[in-house]
């Protein structure tokens, strides 16, 4: 059985923990604690180490999903998780443009440590004020559309949508292996 480790990262409240909960076949290992920082504006609990879920992908492969904390004070966890990952998805809440900078910062951190395949998943596209993919790409620093990683839309609350995102990520990373 092959194991593929996928990391789900992104700013606070993007939907990382929800994403993993939606598709994991095991009870998710979560390390959410009561939030006491500015996270409280968005939600009550926040991830302090990582989320872990597992998903069987065909008969030969198991996917291990690791969700990171969003706050940069936990960047040592970003570092630990990305070093062992085979691919990752950056979740960005499309309706919170003030967080694009934090997403960009995470991206920079990951890029510095790892060249593994990645895609961008836009969440909260159902919410008022959501930006479109093109403008988010620019906000994240991808000025040239040809050099931009694949951008997909995902709703972490819907397992079918998350499953599609996971497939997109696995496929993208396999393409990466061929070239």
């Amino acid at each position: 059985m092959e194991i593929m480790r996928l990391v789900v990262t992104g700013p606070v409240g993007a939907g990382k923990s929800t994403f993993i909960r939606s598709v994991s076949e095991i009870e998710v290992v979560d390390t959410d604690r009561r939030a006491t920082d500015e996270t409280l504006m968005l939600k009550k609990r926040t991830t302090v180490a990582f989320d872990f879920g597992r998903l069987q992908f065909g008969p030969e492969m198991a996917l291990h999903l690791y969700g990171t904390p969003g706050q940069s004070r936990f960047d040592f966890m970003w570092d630990i998780l990305i070093r062992k990952a085979h691919a990752y998805i950056l979740l960005v809440a499309a309706h919170r443009p003030h967080e694009f900078r934090s997403a960009r910062r995470i991206l920079g951190f990951m890029k510095q440590r790892s060249q593994i395949p990645m895609i961008i998943g836009l969440t909260h596209t159902d919410c008022p004020g959501a930006w479109d993919a093109e403008n988010i790409a620019i906000a994240l620093g991808y000025l040239d559309a040809n050099r931009c990683p694949p951008i997909i839309t995902v709703n972490p609350n819907q397992s079918a949508s998350v499953a599609e995102a996971v497939i997109a990520l696995v496929q993208h990373s396999m393409q990466g292996c061929l070239v």
Partner: protein
């Protein structure tokens, strides 16, 4: 109710200076923010706090998963010394750093004592 961080700092400073072989201590929130710290100069309190929270949460989770019951403390022993994490009520985590010559039993006793004091302020 506001926690008196001044009192917490006082207790920590006193603990660090008066306990043999203790090099630093911190009280942090379970989501990894510093409440009060008295740490060696080179250590960043924000980082230390986040790490403490991450480690305690994982330790508790492991305790749970491997049927070890409620976790009293997490213990890291390296050739340069010890790091001991103790849950300090629902709203705080207590981290103590000691050098390698610390006597474990004594250290635990001192930590227990400090915990009692801290809990009174945190209540």
């Amino acid at each position: 109710m506001a926690i008196s961080t001044e009192k917490l700092s006082g207790i920590l400073q006193n603990f660090v200076t008066s306990t043999n072989d203790v090099q630093g201590a911190a009280v942090v929130t379970p989501d990894g923010l510093p409440l009060a710290t008295s740490l060696p100069g080179a250590m960043d309190e924000e980082r230390v706090s986040a790490m403490s929270a991450a480690m305690l949460s994982l330790g508790e989770r492991i305790g749970n998963e491997l049927a070890r019951g409620t976790i009293d403390r997490i213990y890291v022993e390296g050739n340069q010394g010890y790091g001991v994490l103790t849950s300090c009520g629902e709203d705080a985590v207590f981290l103590v750093l000691a050098n390698q010559s610390a006597k474990q039993g004594l250290l635990m006793l001192e930590i227990k004592r400090a915990l009692t004091e801290l809990k009174l302020v945190l209540m």
